[in-house]
Subunit: 280 residues, 6 copies
């Protein structure tokens, strides 16, 4: 079992509800789980650890409280932080802003880079950063009452932490992508499911989290060599030609097919029993 | 308000039904809005002007009359134009044809390059060029009676003005893309909505155009810095890796986040009033 | 009419049920059409021939028997084959495995490279290789009882023959892609249609094959110059930027627009009769 | 012979010193051929015409007078032009600047896009824009006294009209590229030849221009189908993988190999006589 | 030792002059080693075998006789072959030509894909295909009397078997590349060395071949795991971003660093003796 | 002046020999500056700090002592470190190795990502990591006695920390790249200069370091906005198409051209005095 003490960070609860399953909860419910700088630095630290933790094979990401997965950026805190990025010269302000954006992006991308699959549950208010963040996860589930919004144009900015780069590759309706990103309108789970933003909608948060944990347990029961490779190759291929995807896959598997897990999995299949796999 | 006199072109009506909103109407209803060469040159000129017009923040594109958004290429006119691209040497014919195709493609791409979001309403007959053209727009709406067809194989050609390059990135069913492009079969709005070609279907043209104008007004009420950036980054990211998208976004926003619009938008949000933004 | 004698290969039936239409049937029903090495080599040989056969303009791919399109890899045969790819040195095993994976991938990619459109009908058990293979086809149809599964993680491997590289570009729900690839769960046709994996679902195999043949006949009635170009440009554009797609299209069509088929197709259209096109 | 009257533009002399050869001379010697906005617009117009002019098969580009190919941007004129691109809002200034830079870049890129090969002769002062411009040409020659400098950092800017994007692909010493771009130091022809920036150095302008015209005549004596294709494919391949280059080449030549020029060239070769080729 | 009987092909001599070293000689000296179709098919077959032959670790490629490495395409044979690719319809001719070009390209690319490094020695006449072919090799050596020419424009075509796609990535003078490809002028070894086309020039063929064999023996004395990986990663990286190159390298080496060769090589280094490595 | 106390790291001396110039010295001369894990972690930390340090505008990187820039990896230390990356399962070993390689690569890439230009001086022994590291720098200088070697194949591995990914983009002789990477032979400065690996060769270390400092001072005297942009755009463009490079440049400069440095630099130029620029 993973050591919970390794994961003590402000504004996040990290627990291990089942073997090889981690649960990361954004924990600032009194502010609808809105993010300020320390929070995304902590988020990054947590996922960098989970990525290499041999006791973890799948991760569930949720928001504490009933009101929100996350309301997005804590705009008040953000506007104060920006002050430190201001110079009286436009180019120097630009350089400072770029450093800040790149650092923020990197923190969110650490979720995508985590070697273990990550399942997000979006309930109720899921605005702005909620999309940036969940689009860096592998699987997205939501509830009957989720209120989604790509909120950034409402505060005068083009979303810059990932939504505009990942959303066009995540769903199957480019017209809809432009619609919700340009209008910032709120939409619900039915629409999110239809266009392909989420892959499952559940009655309420309790049921959605239960489903996420069940899926995490299923993934955790498979060979961790197989699931790590599957995540990595899918992310690689999303961004590249089919030919490049195939070439990378062959090189990946020339090393990975040598695992004992293949024989163990096959034998277990024939013997109708559950295989166990070494840690990774 | 934009100056309508700047937009006098044959076969197009350009009006400004609301502040910061332009309405471009293809106006050759007696021929079901079929296109010949002068028309796409005019279309290009119009959208290049709208792109830089500070009085415009969103554009609606529709077809005049009840019978068609556009029936596509005016085949008769086209076959005459082609004569001028014939040489008795196959390579020289090829060179002439290539110049012609590139010029035609560039005209349609000018719609995509327009800095302001463009919303197309496809009603009734929407064949061939109707798809090339609307796929270069940002948002696509249709009506209960729209008849779509990727018509080109029926005249012996692979569509070359954009449909085959943009459609695979616009919808989420590659099997369906091949089906409609290879068979040229006619399909309706329900199917178009299901696969993600359009993001809204309305009872008739009147309602669809009303919805398009409403969406255009919503977009026009936001910071034009934010909506221009959102369109640009989404188009950039559609075509590239997530990593490249993020890098481009950071460089874009290092300049754009310095706008006063951010403060104005935030303040208006707190004060529950509508912000106004300077022209762009 | 194509010469059936050119297509005698073990484990495949190749017939020509209509003019310009080929029907390839995977024929190992007693093993649920599971594949071993000779079979994918034969499959490759068949599709390389069909690609250049002037008597063929469209291909239908199905599995023999009632029980399965294909159950995927014949795991028993595969595990024996792997023995020949083992060395006591991990790097040498890797080199042997890479050669094997690349060869296997190339065989499946020969279906994608076939100049003529290919329509797959997936009925009942459609596991593992069923997806790798059908994703290399152009159009995918299924039946009310199809049982799909990206099965590979269940035998300890990341799918390496194409599913992970092609699936993210084929459907419009990235969350669902990760879900089914990481859990190996079985899903049905309704779900496959909703996310965009197939473009048509039929009551049973008979009806689905009939529909596939009808679509193949429709495609075969078009100019083969137009359909070959349409397939090629769509595949090219799926993998690249819109700008690159347009450039390639212009160069493709500078040669292809010179075909007589354009005039013949146009004239036939005006005269309301069916055109005939020379072989290709 | 091309019609010189078609090429009357301020600050440029366009002549036709030999059959199928055009000579474009930058003609503002009293200001060391420094550029202001109207000049690059004119340059673009000239090269767009040359590109499609059937009487032109090769182009030589030189600067009038003894003192300079070009001293680069006319900084005084440029700083006045910039005024029109200033807004009191940093984001709006950025948007105006971007439009301006893209337009300027497009003008220079029109030289690269010209279907006919372009040979530049850089003599004496060749600063800033001299490199942007000559890097968009196909062949670069210089003289014993050429003084090159990537001058932009000396006026506080990163070169943005092409040098920084084309130079890394044009020469074979990345360390040298960084050195000259970061220090703005002046270097001579010996160094330019050693690192690969030019392919020939001549005693003085007269000899260099004579050599350029001789090379232009040689190119003009070849099949224009062959030279246009060679330029296009080299430019395409410079920017892409070898595999993509080969694929594009095959599609290019499937149309172009059908030219009569191949037979004429072969026959002339056998008969040891000079072939003549139809216009393109 | 490799089995010479496996390599009996018309127009090629394949010998094994040293342990792990193969020597492929183009053997049609009476026609200056000019190529016709059967020859490139044979060349491909030879290199596909060498690629997987555990007794081969490095390959030398030369031309028989004193007069030429190869004079290029046997134009007479080629013009006859082309007849079979002619149709009365330009599009159908194009389709046949494309199949032919792709097949020809694939044969030459098989040299690049060969897992073992290939060293070419170009002596005397080295025209047209001599460059296409040697650019697919890893190392190019030449002699004092080598006469190089990118000859294709002289027969009315843009080179389509690889020179135009590989040359811009092989040498460091883009101006020179355009010069020699557009003029088809003959150049010598001194120039070839200066621009980077070859990496060594020797007095005559005997000395150059001796040097090639010596280099081949050096390569053959290293770990074949290390040299195969070095070739593969360099080819991969040539075509891609540094970031993609690094990512691919990490995945390649995660499998390959596990080889015993690392320990054996290190130990031999410490003990100052020559290591031996298992076959690959 | 930068604060030297911020840069106290084992095995590195960091000094500030001139305004805005930092000098990083690899300091393990008793082991010929060979690297072990803590050293590249420290190197990374130093360059991440330098990147954002407003008192630094250019960096010089050298090796302490007379015997070596660096002999490369401390093989003995490395082989011990590897033990911790071994598992009895080949796939698990692969996963551990990949984490290690990616971390090591990232440390070296931090030199490339440093916003300030970096000048490396390679003297005497410059093996293995010496190339990986100096290829991540911007400018490379060497001395009459430098001994270069891409040493990795001699210890049984394909170089994986950057040489194989960066070298093909840094020099202009692909044949030479393959030669030195496949044979691991030692070469000198004359050869390095000829192929483009270095851009300057000096009599000895003292002179080379003096030249490096002089160049650093020159760079430090320019607008830091201009030099940062120049480095960034050159690195971006090296890896991408010219079109993508131009697009990125326009977006970069739309923010950066607004700097006061442009006016200050122009004015200083007119007034023939040295400009001063604000910190960045």
């Amino acid at each position: 079992m993973a050591n919970a003490n390794d994961y003590k960070y402000d504004y996040f609860n990290v627990t291990f509800p089942a073997e090889y399953v981690a649960h990361v909860e954004i924990n600032r419910p009194e502010k609808m789980n809105a993010f300020f700088e320390q929070m995304w630095l902590n988020l990054s630290a947590i996922f960098r650890k989970l990525s290499h933790d041999p006791s973890v094979r799948a991760v569930v990401l949720t928001g504490a409280g009933e009101r929100a997965f996350t309301a997005g950026l804590d705009v008040k805190a953000a506007s104060q932080g920006t002050l430190s990025r201001e110079s009286s010269d436009a180019a120097r302000s630009a350089a400072l802003l770029r450093r800040h954006i790149l650092e923020f992006q990197d923190c969110i991308t650490d979720v995508e880079k985590c070697e273990k699959p990550v399942i997000a549950v979006l309930h109720e208010i899921s605005f702005g950063l909620a999309l940036d963040l969940s689009l860096a996860c592998d699987i997205r589930l939501s509830t009957a009452n989720t209120k989604f919004s790509v909120k950034e144009v409402d505060i005068g900015i083009a979303a810059d932490i990932g939504t505009l780069s990942r959303l066009p590759h995540a769903v199957g309706n480019a017209s809809w992508v432009k619609d919700v990103c340009l209008t910032a309108r709120i939409f619900g789970s039915e629409e999110a499911l239809r266009v392909g933003l989420v892959s499952g909608v559940y009655a309420n948060k309790t049921e959605a989290v239960a489903k996420a944990l069940e899926t995490a347990k299923t993934i955790a029961s498979k060979s961790p060599v197989a699931t790590m490779g599957t995540k990595e190759i899918l992310n690689y291929s999303r961004d590249r030609t089919v030919a490049d995807g195939l070439q990378y896959t062959a090189v990946w598997n020339m090393g990975m097919l040598q695992t004992r897990d293949v024989k163990d999995a096959m034998l277990s299949g024939l013997e109708k029993r559950k295989p166990t796999f070494a840690k990774l």
